[in-house]
């Protein structure tokens, strides 16, 4: 399909050009040209009908899907929910405690919500496992007792959008602080490294 496909009137004016100027007064040519005048009248009528159809569809209750559709969608989605990897929080003789990456991300986001001027976005959590952080020694995980300090070391990579006009270094520092406090308070392990990327500014 090429540009030449745009319909033209006998006088050579394109429909596109007339459409673009129907709200302006007619040009000298248009005042003289019957074809242009007819086209302007028709397109103006179309423009009005288009606007009223758009408005009525927006407010017309029968132009909405049945109310149950959202739940039907969410049921399908919930069955396929992604929880990411699981992070071992604590391992003792009487059992292990794990948390999903998904749940930990929620904790991080809810901590981040306390800081004005940033919206948290995607969150990736890498884990250096308890075994690896205790280093080379060859003792199997799960036999190191109940100490919470021997837990895994987290590397949190959080992306955020910031409000325009905020002081980014200060705000991000406050955010890091908030997360570093919230994780041990909720799950009993240190937050480890908290990398924060401001990837966007949001409109306010």
């Amino acid at each position: 399909m090429a540009l030449e496909d745009i319909p033209r009137l006998g006088c050579g004016r394109s429909i596109d050009r007339i459409w673009g100027t129907i709200d302006r007064p007619p040009t000298a040519h248009e005042e003289q040209c019957d074809q242009c005048q007819t086209a302007r009248t028709r397109l103006r009528r179309l423009s009005k009908a288009t606007r009223s159809l758009r408005e009525s569809d927006l407010h017309n209750p029968t132009m909405e899907p049945r109310p149950g559709i959202k739940n039907a969608i969410m049921d399908v989605v919930r069955a396929k929910v992604r929880r990411g990897s699981r992070i071992l929080l604590r391992s003792a003789d009487n059992g292990t405690t794990e948390i999903s990456e998904q749940a930990l991300s929620s904790l991080i986001r809810s901590a981040a919500a306390a800081i004005p001027g940033v919206h948290s976005r995607r969150c990736r959590i890498e884990i250096r496992s308890a075994a690896a952080s205790v280093a080379d020694e060859d003792h199997p995980t799960g036999t190191t007792g109940t100490s919470t300090n021997a837990g895994p070391r987290l590397i949190i990579n959080l992306r955020v959008a910031a409000a325009p006009g905020i002081v980014i270094p200060r705000t991000v520092e406050a955010l890091r602080h908030e997360i570093s406090n919230a994780i041990p308070a909720s799950v009993g392990i240190g937050a480890g490294t908290v990398n924060i990327t401001v990837e966007d500014l949001y409109d306010v």
Binding site: D16, A49, L58, P61, I69, K70, H119, R121, R122, A161
Partner: protein, 198 residues
């Protein structure tokens, strides 16, 4: 705290909501479903003229989007992407339909919708205006339904949903200049048709 995690701040920007949904946040995704289900239904209904099929399109599009979300590179592209999925599902369905029979229009549906549309707008109009408006709307939708499906999609995406030429081009696999041409032809044809209704 349940499956959804904590509810999110009410003034979140859409990019952040999309990003959270990409990470599997159900509350964020639910918010997107609530936002887009109405828009997608209006598009699908005007494409297909069938409530049940339009609802199926909304449901399929949004559940498909959950699977594809983690791969979406740009969070601000969500709207365009979801419109593209829905439009192409409608076009596929119409292609399937036309291999069976000519455009099937559920007349009963059309009547209900036209009437309810009238009531929705008529509060501000006097009866004469209302009748005129209703005839105008019927005329417009009938002419719209006579357009070839891709042209109809182009017109709806631009005029009813305000999508950009670039985005419509990607959806219909044509250049933005061709979108412009398609729109001009659609407007020309509808305007011509309307001039016959008197």
């Amino acid at each position: 705290m349940g499956d959804h995690g904590p509810g999110f701040e009410p003034d979140l920007d859409e990019g952040s909501i999309v990003a959270r949904a990409q990470d599997g946040d159900l509350a964020a995704f639910e918010h997107l479903v609530l936002t887009y289900q109405y828009r997608l239904f209006r598009l699908a209904y005007r494409m297909l003229n069938d409530r049940g099929e339009a609802e199926d399109i909304v449901q399929e599009t949004l559940t498909t989007s959950w699977r594809g979300l983690p791969m979406l590179a740009d969070v601000d592209a969500f709207g365009g992407w979801i419109y593209r999925l829905a439009t192409n599902k409608c076009l596929d369905l119409l292609r399937k339909r036309s291999s069976h029979a000519e455009n099937i229009i559920d007349l009963e549906d059309m009547d209900t919708i036209a009437e309810a549309g009238c009531r929705a707008v008529s509060a501000a109009l006097d009866p004469a205006q209302e009748a005129e408006w209703s005839a105008e709307q019927d005329g417009l939708t009938a002419l719209l339904n006579a357009l070839p499906p891709a042209q109809r999609a182009c017109w709806l995406l631009r005029e009813m949903h305000g999508r950009s030429y670039a985005e419509i081009g990607v959806t219909l696999k044509i250049t933005p200049a061709a979108v412009r041409g398609t729109l001009a032809r659609a407007r020309h044809q509808i305007a011509e048709g309307m001039s016959q209704w008197r």
